[in-house]
């Protein structure tokens, strides 16, 4: 098969994969911090997309400022979410919290429909040319933006968690809450910050995919599910696993759709999931020990 076709598909796959990776990271960070899966993670992408469209279209706020406001909004949103869906239930088992996140997810979707209506919105893109033509290879510049922004975010995250005191405190909290508390780390604050950061990752994903996906209340649903798959394929709870799992899934999907069958594109994600669960249940990067603290 010719090179340009494969290159075009690789770009599309990497871009979709980057988005899966961002959402998957949100899953993993919250899971590591509080031990529950946040089923409203997909809505963490939908909400900022609507906020950004609203700021841009209704209030005519320029692009950079829109992005800043959206990110700040989502930071606050993450803390409020944590306060409502996690904090009151923190001393119960994981189940009530999971149900609470599902509840918030349903609430957010319906709230979005009430406020913005059922018609999808177009999010304008900051990159003016609609298409890049590299000697016969046509690429959506937004795909490049997605890949670059994701890489930048990951670099920032590495620096943040490994080199700053706050990041190390958050890591300590995720590893062992009791020990962290004994060392004088404010565990509740660290957890709130984790939720805020996870929500900000959603904001990045929402802003990045908005111009491609269009903005609807359902936009987070399948994204959340694929991202969840990514975390399991990569190894549940593993940060590099979530990133590589997401990118792997995005690329596999495009190539499988092209070379095998386009009708079963979504099925390939779940086939990969089943294969991983059968042959390497701990995922690519998971630890073989059944339960780590």
């Amino acid at each position: 098969m010719d090179l340009s076709t494969n290159f075009q598909m690789l770009t599309a796959g990497l871009a979709m994969g980057s988005i899966y990776a961002l959402v998957a990271l949100g899953f993993v960070l919250i899971f590591n911090a509080v031990g529950v899966v946040n089923f409203a993670q997909g809505e963490f992408v939908m909400v900022p997309a609507f906020v950004a469209v609203w700021l841009m279209d209704m209030l005519k706020i320029p692009f950079p400022l829109t992005y800043v406001i959206t990110v700040i909004f989502m930071g606050v949103f993450g803390i409020v979410f944590q306060r409502i869906a996690y904090y009151p239930l923190r001393n119960r088992t994981f189940l009530p919290v999971i149900i609470a996140t599902i509840g918030v997810s349903i609430f957010l979707k319906n709230a979005a429909q009430m406020v913005f209506g059922a018609e999808p919105f177009l999010m304008h893109r900051p990159t003016p040319p609609d298409v890049l033509n590299l000697a016969g290879v046509f690429i959506d510049p937004q795909y490049i933006v997605i890949i670059v922004c994701t890489l930048a975010l990951l670099a920032f995250q590495y620096f943040f968690f490994e080199k700053t005191s706050l990041g190390k405190k958050m890591q300590a909290t995720a590893q062992d809450k009791d020990m962290a508390r004994l060392l004088g780390i404010r565990v509740a604050t660290m957890i709130a910050i984790t939720f805020a950061y996870s929500s900000i990752l959603g904001a990045a994903a929402g802003i990045l995919v908005g111009p491609i996906f269009y903005v609807t209340k359902e936009m987070g649903g399948m994204l959340g599910l694929k991202a969840f798959c990514s975390t399991i394929i990569g190894g549940f709870g593993s940060v590099p696993g979530a990133i590589l799992g997401g990118i792997f899934l995005g690329v596999i999907e495009v190539f499988a759709a092209f070379y095998i069958s386009s009708g079963y594109r979504d099925a390939f994600a779940f086939i990969m999931l089943i294969l991983v669960l059968l042959f390497r249940p701990q995922g690519f990067f998971g630890e073989k020990i059944a339960e780590k603290a």
Partner: protein, 382 residues
Amino acid sequence: MARRKRFLSVALVALVALVAVGSGVAVAADPEILLGFTPPVTGASAAEGALQLKAIKLALKEINAAGGVNGKKINLIVVDNQSTNPGALTALQKAVEQEKVLALVGSVKSTQILAMSDAVKNYGVPMMIGGTNATLTKQGNPWLFRVRPDDSIAAAAMVKYIKEDSKLTKVGILHDSDAFGTGGADLVEQGSKAAGLTVVKREKYTTKEKDFTAQILSLKNAGTQIMVLYGTNPEDVAIIQRQYRQLGSPFKYIGSPSSQMKDALNLSREAANGLLAVADFVPGQSEANKKYAVDYKKEYNEEYDSTSAWTYDGLNILVAAIKKGGEDRAKIREAILATQGYKGVLGTFSFTPNGDGLSEVSVVEIDKGMPKLLKVVNVGAK
């Protein structure tokens, strides 16, 4: 004890009263005719549902402003079908059994109509439908009346246009993998072969997919000259139109009616310019149509959406039949089938014994976000 008994009896009376009001028994004040409508108010097709409601409410307003039917106002009971097949069936049951509607306007989705079909037949209730799967009216259910051209007509018209006007021979098909897309794609494939065209490749996608790079490139590599897109959801179609442009418009494009829906064009914007599509009709192609455009604009201060206008014609044809046949379901059925040459928004309706109202479609080109008529293609009644 006595107090408790009295409380119980009061509660019982209240309950009976509530049930009576809820089921419509107690409503005797104004004589009115109850008709049902089961659009998607929530769920994946909520966007279309909102537009369908606008169209049908305009018809309702006009009918009642003109005095209703034989002195009775029409009361339209709207029941949400939740964009799902079970939801459509439940909505039908609720409309007929609880709300006691005389007849109804159903759904635009063929799968939902199939889900409702048996119940419609058992109730013996006339239902106007917008689903375009050709087989719907050919399954021995005498109570379904289609007020849109079916897929075999849209598909036949596309093939006819590709052969006679575009003069291209290598056809690639891209379709949604749901019943609508698959049914339409099957008809295009059969029609193309019968017309001597080659179908070089057939690709599909799942509703709500976001990246179509693989499908478009696969069609391109197979040597497609013109792609027939049989899409269902306007959001999907809008993404396809944009990505088709981004991949360098590698072949010509002709789409099913979803390709010229307002919801799709609002999203794809300039990417849709110059694309071809078939449409049930084109704005301004008839007097009834021009009047609808003016009335719609006056009512909602926006342009109407062409794929939801069937609810407007559907309710009007249904009400005209009730005027003629009275409040008797069998007579209403006869009156609908006897409708010939009715000038509606979508075109000139002449019902076949199967219950198909229309057999013409228009081929359009998208021009600055609006469908522009190229040609009306009539493929004749079957």
